[in-house]
Symmetry: C2
Subunit: 408 residues, 2 copies
């Protein structure tokens, strides 16, 4: 009797176990199928708006072109992840190696580390509240690298030696005229900090890192290359100073404009670290980094209202979908309305955008409610940040979705 | 032998099953404990920055004050979810009823419906690409309500009758001078559209909805109340016109400024629908909706760099953490730096903010690297949008996290 009961109980548990497994598998299959089947192959017009759409062919071309450009120059490409924050773009930018990337937040570093990426620079002046998390990544990965520009940050690293004699891999952030973070190249402090890093036990001076964000105020290739040359020369001169005191390490400069039009001297650097080029945007096309045809992202939006008394169209794209970046910078407002050079995105609230004619009056018959429009963003980093999901397509047919990471 | 093998297999599966269960339980307990134990009770300074922090006591006070104000006025409060997009705030704003809310996106509507909320107005000019999703919600909930301001939208509803003779519950969006969405109250079109809605089979004219966003250009209670009075009078007059043609329905106006300082005539309306008041922000304090002490959210940030050559401090809050809202509107830049009225958040890039002295020079000894600062956002809707997680505290001690919904 007891035996029978036991066997019944075992049977019951077994059935329950197998049933649970079966249900789980079914759910997973259904979810996957639904995701894949529901949108794949459909036209962009099947998407609800607003939606960020990514042209995979342009993304691949942008990624490949930068890889080839760096190969031709003989410099290591270390792509920046801050614009897209997805695994898929990271794979394209690293040609599948999952090695040698830069991130702007520790959340990105963790995300990529969790997915098998390694050789990561956390290119952000070492934040004191994140030392422990940085230490954990350093101890977990083959090569997690931090960046600093102040003696106090070095003291923080000394106070937290890594396990088993592992080294903190440190890049010194040098300000070569950009004027944001970094120790100014011309200050004696720069050399003394480099020597202090190199001379600290448990710490390695891995490289000198400069961001030429001042290329963003350029117009045209000539100006971009002048800044690229200045930054490169500045870093190379600093490397000479280091050499003179017996220190050798890597060097890296970056920004999408400078790496889209590199100067020959950049081949003398160890690495370059552009990021935005994977998507590009209107801003980059105005700087001269790319043509408007290279821009790989759009925000799809629809006409949801007519305001004849104000000569306006209402669209379902507010700042929650395209960001407030670009205010006052474009004749067409916060974005370019693709195929409608006569329209301007003049203002936005959270979920509404207002389109106005640049001259003359609106012909409302051209824009019935529901009309699908496509906005080319001024700054793709800012626009992508607003979207929890990117919709990927090839030649206007949907392929699937990408999920960026968020937070810090 | 076979019996023995079978019993061994069963034992093996059983052990595996129990072990799996045990591991799952352990993981859940650990995760819960870690979440609860790791931060609960700790001071705000334990958080990594940047971080959005919510003062639960202020949130509760703001929620309760609006509930009592509406009770005193004798009007139904239908709080708007667009600012916070969380379950926790929704519970506080509805006093736990989980009924009678407004949302700005269909993603919000689905999120709240999935968590047991009902009686929801999707207060957005009916988007043609979302009719099917709206129909699904209408058929699922007791009371899902849409909003429209155009005959074409009504045609869309007619083409998609709801199951089992259910009615589309429709609010007519009236523009009473705000000048964004809505049919202009003074146009004959407004009355004809209301009559068309009321006269359409399968559709019910549930109410007249007006947003007095024009209160956002007010300064002081007097101006706010003038706009509130205008909007209320405009809606009430329209209700009279409807009555004259035999139509009765609800009425609702809203905006945080108008509902923070309601006029007596608002008691003649059925409902009001403010939203931002749950957090408030610097903008609302400048309009006169609240005092700066009522603002319930902050962005915590830390000093990460000194730039003496530019008389600037670098902080780890860029536009990715506070948004670009407020450009040029405050003497202190994009935010108020709490306790430091002499500082200005003058510019930002994605992950960096620059603080400058409003007059004189910075005393860097007051701001060593790692110094924690607290920013009061210009527009809490825009700032909250940038954060995947909100950190909730009471009197500076952490209680837990809230997870807002995102998307459309």
């Amino acid at each position: 009797m007891l035996k029978y009961r036991l066997s019944a109980i075992i049977r019951f548990i077994l059935i329950k176990y197998l049933f649970t497994c079966f249900v789980c598998v079914c759910v997973c299959v259904c979810v996957c199928c639904f995701r894949a089947v529901s949108m794949e192959g459909q036209p962009l017009s099947a998407l609800s708006s607003p939606a960020l759409v990514v042209d995979i062919d342009k993304v691949k071309t942008n990624a490949q072109r930068m890889i080839e450009r760096c190969q031709a120059l003989g410099v290591q490409l270390r792509p920046h992840m801050k614009t897209h924050k997805t695994l898929e773009c990271a794979d394209l930018m690293t040609a599948g190696s999952r090695r040698c990337i830069v991130v702007s937040t520790l959340a990105e570093a963790c995300f990529y580390a969790d997915h098998g990426f390694d050789d990561i620079i956390y290119a952000y002046s070492l934040p004191f509240d994140k030392i422990e998390r940085c230490a954990a990544l350093s101890e977990k990965l083959d090569l997690f690298q931090v960046l600093l520009d102040h003696h106090d940050a070095l003291q923080q690293l000394k106070r937290r030696p890594l396990k088993d004699g592992q080294l903190w891999h440190v890049w010194l952030k040098l300000d070569c005229g950009n004027g944001r973070a970094g120790v100014l190249h011309s200050e004696p402090e720069a050399l003394s900090l480099a020597r202090a890093i190199a001379g600290t036990e448990g710490v390695e001076l891995t490289g000198i890192y400069a961001h030429c964000g001042n290329t963003y105020s350029c117009t045209g290739v000539e100006q971009i290359q002048a800044v690229a040359q200045d930054t490169t020369s500045c870093v190379l001169q600093f490397m000479e100073k280091l050499k003179a005191v017996g220190i050798t390490c890597k060097s890296s400069i970056g920004s999408t404009p400078s790496c889209s039009h590199p100067v020959q001297d950049m081949s003398k650097l160890s690495e370059v670290h552009p990021g935005n080029y994977i998507f590009y945007d209107v801003q980059q096309s105005m700087i001269g980094s790319c043509s408007l045809e290279d821009v790989a992202v759009r925000v799809l939006t629809r006409v949801i209202g007519h305001c004849p008394q104000k000569d306006q169209l209402l669209i379902d794209c507010g700042w929650s979908a395209i960001s407030l970046d670009g205010a006052g910078k474009l004749p067409t407002g916060y974005a370019i309305i693709e195929g409608h050079p006569d329209l301007k995105l003049s203002s936005m609230t959270q979920e509404h955008g207002r389109l106005e004619p640049i001259s003359g009056h609106l012909d409302y018959s051209k824009y019935p409610l529901g009309t699908l429009l496509s906005l080319i963003p001024h700054h793709s980093c800012a626009t992508a940040m607003m979207h929890p999901v990117y919709h990927v397509h090839s030649k206007g047919r949907l392929l699937g979705t990408w999920n960026p990471t968020r937070g810090w």
